[in-house]
Symmetry: C2
Subunit: 143 residues, 2 copies
DNA sequence: CTACGAATTCAAGTCAGCTTGAGGTCAAGC
DNA sequence: GCTTGACCTCAAGCTGACTTGAATTCGTAG
C-alpha cells in the first residue's frame, strides 16, 4: 500500500474530505495523482497534516502555514526567521502556562471572589504585555 | 481616578473601542455607567481583558470565554470542569513545545530534506493523536 | 453659547475557514 | 453491462470576530 486515497487520509487525519480538498486548493497539501476521479496521496501527507494541525494550534493562519513549506514541501525559511518563530512560541507557551496555573488555582482556592484574590491577580498579571504587538492590518488577535 | 472611560481602556488593553463595544455586546465585559454617552469601566476590566486575551490565545471562542465567568463576572465552573480545561491546556502546551522543538531543529539541522530527517519525523510524531477529539459541530481548530 | 472632537447606535461589510448542495463521473460488485 | 456509492467540481452559504460608515449626541474649551 504505497498510496492513500482521500478516504484513507480523511480517516487517518480525522479531517473530512472537504477540508482536504480545501487545503489542497490552498496549496497546503498536494495529491500525487488520481484513481478515476479519486485523489491519491502519499503517506507523507499524514505527517504534513500533523504539522498543519500543530501550526493551527499555534495560531498560524493556513496561508502562513502554506508559506512555511516552500513549493517543494520543504520548510523554506531563514534561520533567524525560524528562531524568531520559535521564540514567539515560547512566549505563547508561557502564556498558556499562566492560564493553566490560574485555572488550577481557581479550582482549589476557596476565595469567594477570584478577581480579588491576590494570588489569582498575580497569576494573571504575569501574562505578557504585548498590546503593541498588533499583527497585520486589522485582524484578530492571538494565534 | 476610580473609573476609566473607553479611551483609557482601549489604551490600556491595546484593543480598539469598537472591539470593546463588541465584547460588551457579547457580555464579556460590562460598563459601569456613562459619562454623557461615553462608557465608563472599572479598572478591573483591564484584568478581565487580559484573561480574555489568554483565553483567546488558548483557542477558546468568545462565547466559551463568556461562559467561563458567570453573569457575576466570577468564574463559575465546577471543579472537575476546571481541571479538565487545565488538562487540555497542558496537552496543548505539550503540542506547542513539540512544534517549537521541531522548528529549532529545522533551524539547526543540515539535512537537505526535513521530511526525511528521522529526528524531525520523530519530533512531529510526538504530537498528540487527538483526531477523535472533534469539538462542537463543525468548526475550526485552535485558535 | 457655539464649535469641536470624540463617543454613540445600527446596519452592513469583510475575512478566514470551512461546509453544503446540485449535478456529474467513475470503478467495482453483482 | 448496469447499478451503486464514493468521489468529483463549482458556486454559494455559514459562523465567528471584528471593522466601517453614516447619521447623531454630548461635554468641554474658547
Amino acid at each position: 500500500m504505497k498510496v492513500l486515497d482521500i478516504a484513507d487520509v480523511a480517516e487517518g487525519s480525522g479531517l473530512p474530505p472537504s477540508t482536504l480538498r480545501y487545503y489542497e486548493e490552498l496549496g497546503l497539501i498536494s495529491s500525487i495523482g488520481r484513481h478515476g476521479l479519486r485523489r491519491q496521496y502519499e503517506p507523507e501527507t499524514l505527517m504534513k497534516l500533523s504539522l498543519i494541525a500543530l501550526g493551527k494550534a499555534a495560531g498560524y493562519s493556513l496561508v502562513e502555514i502554506a508559506g512555511m513549506f516552500g513549493k517543494t514541501g520543504e520548510p523554506e525559511l531563514s534561520r533567524p526567521d525560524l528562531h524568531a518563530r520559535a521564540d514567539r512560541l515560547e512566549h505563547q507557551i508561557r502564556e498558556l502556562t499562566v492560564l493553566k496555573n490560574a485555572i488550577r488555582h481557581v479550582a482549589e482556592c476557596p476565595a469567594p471572589s477570584h478577581m480579588e484574590c491576590p494570588t489569582f491577580r498575580r497569576l494573571i498579571s504575569l501574562a505578557g504585555k504585548r498590546q503593541l504587538a498588533r499583527r497585520n492590518t486589522g485582524r484578530r488577535g492571538s494565534r
